[in-house]
Symmetry: C2
Subunit: 293 residues, 2 copies
Amino acid sequence: MILIDGKAVAEQIKKEIAAEVESMVANGEKRPHLAAILVGHDGGSETYVASKVKACEVCGFRSSLIRYETDVTEDELLSKVRELNQDPEIDGFIVQLPLPKHISEQKVIETIDYRKDVDGFHPVNVGRMSIGLPCFISATPNGILELFRRYKIETQGKKCVVLGRSNIVGKPMAALMMQKAYPGDATVTVCHSRSHNLVQECREADIIIAALGQPNFVKADMVKEGAVVIDVGTTRVPDATKKSGFKLTGDVKFDEVAPKCSYITPVPGGVGPMTIVSLMRNTLLAGKKSIYK
Amino acid sequence: MILIDGKAVAEQIKKEIAAEVESMVANGEKRPHLAAILVGHDGGSETYVASKVKACEVCGFRSSLIRYETDVTEDELLSKVRELNQDPEIDGFIVQLPLPKHISEQKVIETIDYRKDVDGFHPVNVGRMSIGLPCFISATPNGILELFRRYKIETQGKKCVVLGRSNIVGKPMAALMMQKAYPGDATVTVCHSRSHNLVQECREADIIIAALGQPNFVKADMVKEGAVVIDVGTTRVPDATKKSGFKLTGDVKFDEVAPKCSYITPVPGGVGPMTIVSLMRNTLLAGKKSIYK
C-alpha cells in the first residue's frame, strides 16, 4: 500500500510555481494576482481563505482579501464582482462559498468573468471542461488528477466509481475521468444517495473517489483488493481531545480500508492540500493568460 | 416487451406544440422562428435540415434556410452567425454539422449567442445542464428523456449504462441521467472504446443507452432480462435492396435483444424522430423566452 502524500506533493508544486513566478518577474512580467472575497466570519471559510492567502505568498503571487459583513446586499457584492472583472491588476478571483442565504450564489458565480473564474465554477468553464476544451478546472477535481499524474497511477480503461454528484466535486470529477486523456479514459460510474447498487459498484471499482461528505462511509468490505482510494471527505466531527474541538474526518474508514489498497489518500494531508494548490495553478495560468487571452 | 414508438410520440408532441403556437398567435404573439445554416450538400445534412424545416411547418413555426457552398470562409460564416445573433426576428438557430474542414466547428458554436443556441452545444448551455440550471438541452439526449417521461419508465436509483462519450450524446446523456430529477437520479456508468469491462457493465444495467455508432454492437448476451434499451445508433450500412442504397442501422442487434427487454427503441422510428422534435421544443422555448430573457 502506498500512502499518497498530498501535503508533500502540494509543497513541491508550490515550489515549482514559485520558481516559475520568479522567472516571470525576472523577465519583467507582473506577479499573478489573486483576489478573494470573504463574506462573514464562518470558521471554515476563514480557515480556507487564510490558507489561500498564505499559499499565494509561498507562490510569490500578490493577493487581495476583500471582506464584507454578512449583511452585505447582493447588489453590493455583484458590483464588487463587476469591478474585479474590469480591474486589469487582478488576474483571477474567487468568492468564498457558502454565502449568506439572501445572496444567490449562482448569480454571483455567473457574474464573474469566466476568464477570471479561477475556481472554475462559471458555466462556461464547466461546459468547456465537459466538452474537453481548455478551461479553468475546479480545484478539487484538478488536484486529484494531479495526484494521479505525480504517482503515475494508471487510469485508462479502469473502472472508476465516483461517490457523490455535487457540482464542485462529483460531477466534474466524473466528466474529467471519462475524457480521452491521461489521467482519464476510465469507465466512470457516478453513485449517490439514490443508487440501489452502490456497494456492488464500489466492490468492482479499480478506483474509488469518495466525495459524499459522510464520515467513514466506505468500509473494507466495499473495496476490492488493490484498489486506488481517493478520499475527498472533510467532515468536522466533534472531538473533545482536539484543541479545535473537532477532527477532520474523511468518507473512508481509513484504518480498515488502507491495507487493501494499492494507493490511498489520508485525511487530512491527502486531497485537501492539493485543492489549494490547484487554485494557485489556475491563478498562474490566469496571470500568464494561458487559457483565455 | 414494449416497443417504444418514437415516431408516434414525436407526432403527438408536434401536435401539442402546434396547438400552443396557435394559441400564442391568437394572443397576438409572434410565431417562433428557427433559422438553419447549411453549408454544402452532404446527403445526411440535406436530409436532416429538410426534416427540420418540414417539422417547423408542422409546428406552425417560421423557418429560414440559409445556404452556403463548401468554399464559404470561416469569416463569412461567423459574420452570418453574428447577424443572426442580433436579428430580433430569429428566436433560435442552428448551424448544421459537420462543417468543411477549413472551418472550426467549435469557433462557430461558441460564436452563437447561447440564448439562441437551440442545439444546446454552446459551453454555457452544456455547463448549465451539468450544474442543473435551466438551459437548452441538446436534442438527442432531451428526446430520450421525453421518451422515458411519455412511457413512464422508472429511472431513480437504476443502473444506467451509456455507451459512447460524444459531446452531443454520451456526455450530456450521462449528465442528465445523474441529475436529481425525473427522468434521472440513476446510477450512471459511461463506457467507451477504452473500457475494459464494457460487457459486464451492460449485463448489470437496468437501462442501456447505446450511442457508439457501431452497427449491431449490443448483442443479446450483453443485456439483462427486463432491461430498457435505447438505441441512438443510425449508421448508414450499404444495402443494395434499398432504393437509397443503404439501411439505417442501430447500435443494437434488435432481433435478438428485443425479446429480453421491458422497453426498446427501434431504428428507425425510435430516437431519431424525437431528436427533431426536441429541437422544435427548444425553438418554442426560445420563442417564448422561457429559459433566457
